[in-house]
């Protein structure tokens, strides 16, 4: 952290108070950041288990996985990616505003982040609805027109597990942003709380950056 930024952070009306078990504010912020990164490390492995299962099965059943992947809507998938990248920008701007102590800008960017997050979930919900209508829900009601119904179902199952877990993280993220917005409205938000929450939001964005090519872009050229 640059000294100029430190001076800004210290003078900011949103600066946090020093807790008794830390010597300096910088040390406190450093510990907060590292704690969040440790949590994100466990999250990488949480998603990593499912992604490993997906990669293993895709290598084994590549034909069926390519067929099943083509049933996903590439337009809504790309749109979701763009919406989520946009929300990462507004999140970064929210953190920036918090560091400068601009409360109204912070509220604006938090609101934009929530709007984009909800838009993502809306497109995702629409996609799930179409899967429901096409009887592409794993289980006894699963209907598959092509060959390899069993392995195609495996792909759809992993699709729901991966995107469902990601959507759950998005819902939690939107709730966190809502909480921050309420704190901002009451003037009790701290700039480091915004920064730490931002790390979580960007992480969820990164998960989607990997899920999108893995699930939607399998053998699109065929």
């Amino acid at each position: 952290m640059s000294e100029a930024h430190q001076a800004v952070a210290a003078a900011s009306p949103l600066g946090s108070r020093l807790k008794h078990h830390y010597e300096t504010l910088e040390q406190q912020h450093h510990a907060d950041t590292l704690g969040m990164w440790v949590f994100l490390g466990t999250e990488v492995l949480f998603f990593g288990g499912l992604i490993t299962a997906y990669v293993t099965y895709r290598a084994a059943y590549s034909t069926a996985f390519a067929q099943a992947s083509l049933t996903l809507d590439i337009v809504s998938g790309t749109l979701m990616t763009l919406v989520l990248l946009g929300s990462s920008l507004t999140m970064a701007m929210a953190v920036h505003s918090a560091q400068l102590g601009h409360r109204r800008m912070l509220a604006l960017f938090l609101t934009l982040t929530i709007v984009l997050g909800v838009a993502f979930l809306g497109i995702k919900g629409n996609e799930y609805y179409h899967k429901w209508e096409d009887h592409h829900i794993p289980g006894s009601g699963f209907v598959w027109a092509g060959p390899d119904a069993r392995t195609a179902q495996l792909f759809i199952y992993l699709y729901f597990a991966l995107t469902g877990l990601h959507a759950l993280h998005m819902i939690i993220g939107v709730c966190i942003m809502g909480g921050l917005l309420a704190l901002t409205a009451h003037g009790r938000v701290k700039n480091y709380t915004v920064e730490i929450s931002g790390l979580y939001w960007h992480f969820v964005d990164i998960v989607w950056i990997f899920l999108f090519p893995l699930l939607y872009l399998v053998d699109r050229h065929k």
Binding site: V55, Y57, A60, T81, L82, S88, M93, I209
Partner: protein, 101 residues
């Protein structure tokens, strides 16, 4: 800390890469399709981690913590693949048959 113009530039780059990866997916590159897709995904993730998540502007310890999860994921993927992908390479009687068709 980065300026707002840095954020906008990184965002523009991310949008470009997102559209590029979709476009490239429709071109037949054979075995390179998934490789190109993953290289672009890793590039995008790196940009987000370095600039949006401020790892570039913080100490080395933050960098170590940030890269740790990725390293464990690589170990997980490598060791699991080493088992599943090499099944059936050697004709050992009684060995587990490979998955697939």
């Amino acid at each position: 800390m980065p300026s707002t113009s840095t954020y906008y530039k990184i965002f523009a780059l991310l949008m470009f890469l997102a559209l590029a990866t979709t476009a490239i997916a429709f071109v037949d590159l054979g075995i390179f399709n998934p490789i190109v897709a993953m290289v672009i995904a890793v590039t995008k993730a790196t940009l987000v981690v370095l600039f949006f998540m401020h790892v570039r502007y913080q100490g080395r310890l933050t960098f170590v913590f940030a890269i740790a999860g990725f390293c464990w994921l690589v170990i997980l993927l490598l060791l699991v693949s080493a088992e599943y992908l090499t099944r059936g390479w050697l004709p050992i009687p009684g060995a587990i048959p490979p998955m697939g068709f």
